[in-house]
């Protein structure tokens, strides 16, 4: 295992990706200490201030420096960006874990048992891939209400297919191998064979899929919140900030450009790590 980490760190895209993710995670964890001002504090007299300007909240007090400016109700953009990293990472990560669990389980079971389970899974995958899921997501969230939990669930539903397909393919090729037969012969039950002997051997490609689907989840959350059907508008997420700045694009460019840069930085980290993992785990595709 430690050899794996050493190889990972030597791989340039993985190194870049990990570095970026460490920085973003650090900001997310330390946000309460790092933020220059309270990200929820509304200051009507300091609204739409451009980057690097100062505002005086209380007359006679020390002026607050707004490094990245303020938004339409006078909240500090930098502080909200820092708190936004918490939301984006949590939403992206939870959605990724949920869909990995659901998709892998379905892939494992359908690959191992075949028959009706496989046919049903195949049909579900077909349904999902046969039309743009974002459309259904907008409809579901708009009709039944948004909020963090609903968005996470929708994002998980959007990406489970990738896991199901890859785990199913892996299971099909593993289940006929000697060591699985040996496990059967020594009296291991179906559950033990599935979770101890087969599932761990599908983990490598699952990790690669996971990083790309987490990137996709972060981007989709931004899109949904931007449209106004995603997270609650008061939540300081990068998507809701993009939505906030939409009406002020022509007068206050910084409100919606800054969260985009934050998203780009984070997604670059996640994707680079995924690329590094792919190079490590699949030497053929490395070139």
């Amino acid at each position: 295992m430690s050899a794996f980490w050493a190889r990972l760190i030597r791989c340039p895209p993985a190194r870049r990706g990990s570095l970026i993710l460490v920085i973003v995670t650090f900001i997310a964890l330390a946000a309460p200490v790092l933020v220059p001002t309270d990200p929820w504090k509304v200051e009507p007299e300091a609204r739409l201030l451009p980057p690097m300007s100062r505002s005086i909240a209380v007359t006679g007090a020390h002026p607050t420096l707004h490094v990245l400016g303020t938004d339409s109700v006078g909240r500090d953009v930098l502080s909200r960006l820092m708190y936004g990293s918490r939301v984006s990472l949590t939403v992206g990560f939870t959605a990724m874990v949920l869909s990995a669990l659901f998709g892998s389980l379905l892939g494992l079971v359908s690959g191992y048992f075949g028959g009706i389970v496989e046919a049903l899974t195949g049909w579900l995958i077909d349904v999902q891939l046969s039309f743009p899921f974002l459309l259904l997501a907008i409809f579901l969230l708009g009709a039944l209400g948004g909020g963090t939990a609903a968005v996470i669930l929708i994002l998980a539903l959007a990406t489970w297919v990738n896991y199901a397909r890859i785990v199913r393919a892996q299971t099909l090729s593993i289940k006929n191998q000697g060591y699985v037969e040996a496990a059967h012969a020594t009296g291991a039950g179906v559950g033990r064979v599935l979770f101890v002997h087969i599932l761990p051997n599908t983990l490598a490609p699952v990790c690669v899929v996971a990083s790309f689907s987490m990137a996709q989840a972060i981007l989709t959350e931004a899109g949904l919140s931007f449209l106004g059907v995603g997270l609650d508008p008061s939540t300081p997420s990068w998507g809701t900030m993009l939505n906030d700045g939409r009406d002020y694009l022509l007068t206050a460019w910084w409100i919606s450009t800054m969260p985009g840069i934050a998203i780009g930085f984070t997604v670059l980290g996640v994707m680079s790590l995924g690329e590094g993992l792919r190079e490590l785990l699949d030497p053929r595709g490395a070139s």
Binding site: F131, F139, W253, I261
Partner: protein, 305 residues
């Protein structure tokens, strides 16, 4: 071939039924439309009558059956908000959407192929590296955010293109480019990788040995064989394109199906949303079906799978 076609047809039908049922149930669960339609001073009696005349007091499955039967006859109901036939609304907005999506798709595929080939011809040159950077950028930021930045640069800062809306060709440029950029980036990388792989093969060595110039080898022999993955990828990109068009149309106030649907969602006019989702799903299922059958005609190996 007959059983293959039948199987695909059955699958397409079941997908359509699944999607229509799901959208109908979501619309049904979203709340009582009578609250939207009835005037504030309507009595319970009047509301009940309205509910009855709209068939909303019947069992859900019965309502679904009626909805599907009507849909098959080209009737998707009347918008609760705008009091216009949903099919008319869709027909009004569809051409704009097709115009935008078509422009973006053609631009992404053709330009992506040309630029991918150019990257191989001038390997590791400025163009190659700039495109590599651009394609990474287009993958890691939301597509609509690129659109916002393009608006800031071209419409606000340099004032050479309109901010939003539709009309002449100038209005089409920014939304189409925004929609095309992520696909263009992926296409370029795909063509580049495909050509570099093809360049390793024996027939390329043969072509070189024959004394062809490097340009003839690249454009005449290698580029042609890098076309196949482009066609496959192009089909996959279509779903992505329609999905992101929903957001891009909203950003640029483009009067298409996407913006109409998003607005209808925000106004809780769900009969319109239901109809739009159903029409788009049907179009997708039909396109997929046609592609599957076309593949089977071209490549007999597919049929036996």
């Amino acid at each position: 071939m007959l059983s293959f076609t039948l199987g695909k047809l059955l699958r397409a039908l079941s997908v359509l039924l699944g999607v229509s049922f799901l959208t109908f149930m979501v619309g049904h669960a979203s709340g009582d439309p009578v609250r939207l339609i009835a005037r504030g001073d309507a009595t319970e009696q009047q509301k009940a009558e309205l509910r009855h005349s709209l068939g909303l007091d019947r069992p859900v499955l019965e309502q679904y059956r009626v909805y599907v039967t009507h849909a098959l006859h080209g009737d998707l109901g009347v918008s609760y908000r705008q009091h216009v036939e949903v099919t008319d609304l869709i027909a009004l907005r569809l051409p704009s959407s097709l115009e935008l999506a078509g422009a973006a798709f053609v631009m992404a595929i053709l330009l992506g192929f040309a630029l991918g080939v150019a990257c191989v011809v001038y390997r590791n040159g400025i163009l190659d590296q700039a495109l590599a950077g651009l394609s990474v950028l287009a993958q890691v930021v939301p597509g609509f955010w690129l659109g916002l930045v393009l608006v800031l640069l071209f419409a606000v800062h340099w004032r050479i293109l309109p901010v939003s809306g539709s009309g002449d060709l100038a209005h089409l440029v920014l939304p189409a480019v925004t929609l095309a950029l992520p696909i263009l980036g992926r296409m370029t990388r795909l063509v580049r990788a495909g050509m570099l792989e093809v360049l390793q093969s024996d027939y390329i060595r043969a072509a070189r040995a024959k004394g062809l110039t490097e340009r003839q080898v690249l454009l005449g022999h290698a580029a042609r064989n890098a076309l196949l993955p482009v066609i496959t990828q192009a089909g996959l990109e279509l779903g992505d394109l329609v999905g992101s068009a929903f957001i891009i149309e909203t950003v640029f106030a483009w009067p298409g199906l996407g913006r109409m649907t998003v607005n209808a969602v925000l106004q809780r006019d769900f009969l319109v949303v239901q109809g739009a989702v159903l029409v788009i799903a049907a179009a997708f299922v039909l396109i997929n079906l046609a592609v599957d059958l076309l593949y089977a005609v071209v490549d007999p190996r597919v049929r036996s799978q």
